[in-house]
Subunit: 251 residues, 2 copies
């Protein structure tokens, strides 16, 4: 079996830790990576603080195949991601002539001035590869295994779509899910036994309380469709034997 | 000035990194901590993997005054937070007689059996203090500076409310926000100068594109109301001079 391809996400921004903003980027990236068979092993959220960003980057980039960052690449003084990535890699941060040309054309087209603040968005670590931004021109960039994207979800999403074809894929992880109106504590013993029988399948239980009834969504994940199908059949049988009403749902 | 009180959040669960579940706990905790003047400096998201949970716990608990975890304290085999916390602190995990009594009463009242799986929820690291769960009985717990809560948001929230009175507070961070229909690149130079003038105020810019117009929410945070008011007045004057239409909004 091919070795797993692993990744981490680093969300950058004071607003995520002050409670001001609800992050929407982690789930998007997580879903896309799962579709590509890339194992998202960890995520971190840090403030706009250079030391903290550098420490997180260096911890994650040495541990995982890929690191995806969001946030901190705009024109204002609180956007310090490019400098932090430069520092983490020991690379100078320079005005990239390709980005300067992109920004010149974009702002000219919009009748806006390419002033010093906007030019900041042309600063990337030396040798970085650009990531296209089809919405507002200012690109993201890649240094080695670190992909740096905007924080605004719509822009982050087009950047991710632009970089995704260049990623090494793993074996896709298939997910199937069964919903049942039984309390978790009632099905836990059988579920544990099932997990022991199917070591290659990762099994999780997510309880709910809906329409006045306890229940759980049981999610099974694995790379082999046949094994997964066997485990799902065994799960349904186990739940039916407990008097449950197992229904397969979209995982 | 009193020393800052710092905290980190550790979100535990495969479902957060597979894209299945949108986390709702970080923002809740972040907002409450900000109200209490506790600086949330970092958050991490890890899978249901003991080594990973232990490593994150030990990194965070030694670095910050408080660590708040969510997830992994239910009755099913994928709930391994109690064991992980025990391992991080080098404490045995034991059936706590106070929790056994709580669970016995609760399940008896609901006409349900306190079976072995449900009894797992009575397992806490030796010497842990309990955190009340006013919804479904099974408590969270505290070991030293680590507070362990459920992952289900409604339950996490009542647990947080139960533990909050025991936290040491910092000086509350006041936030004020001004919204303006100017592109970030137009206001960035003035905003940077303002930040330089008010070092004690943390200033962030969050761009938006609404109703066909570029704009930004400019958020100022600080602990001194008078300084913050001065900075807000100066910000509004700067934006008005640029032809903007600054409007104070709820931060």
């Amino acid at each position: 079996m091919a070795e797993a391809v692993t990744a981490a996400v680093l969300l950058i921004g004071n607003e995520l830790l002050s409670g001001r903003t609800q992050d929407a980027n982690l789930r998007f990236i997580a879903t896309r990576l799962a579709d590509m068979g890339i194992v998202l092993a960890e995520a971190r959220v840090v403030t706009d603080d250079e030391d903290q960003i550098v420490a997180a980057l260096n911890a994650l980039r040495t541990r995982y195949d890929y690191v995806f960052t969001t946030g901190g690449i705009g024109p204002t003084h609180d956007d310090i991601t490019a400098d932090s990535v430069g520092k983490a890699f020991g690379r100078r941060v320079v005005y990239d002539p390709r980005v300067v040309a992109l920004l010149e054309a974009s702002y000219r087209g919009r009748g806006m001035e390419l002033n010093e603040a906007r030019l900041r968005m042309a600063r990337v670590p030396e040798g970085a590869e650009l990531i296209e931004n089809s919405i507002s021109a200012a690109p993201g960039f890649r240094v080695e295994n670190v992909y740096v994207m905007a924080g605004v979800p719509s822009i982050m999403q087009v950047m991710f779509d632009a970089l995704a074809p260049g990623l090494r894929r793993g074996r896709p992880v298939l997910a199937r899910s069964v919903s049942v109106h039984l309390p978790e504590g009632t099905l836990a013993a059988g579920f544990r036994d099932l997990q022991a029988r199917y070591a290659a399948i990762q099994m999780g239980s997510y309880p709910f309380y809906r329409d006045g009834k306890y229940g759980a969504d049981l999610v099974l994940r694995g790379t082999d469709a046949a094994t997964l199908a066997d485990a799902i059949a065994a799960l349904k049988a186990m739940l039916a034997a407990l008097g449950g009403d197992p229904v397969e749902t979209t995982a």
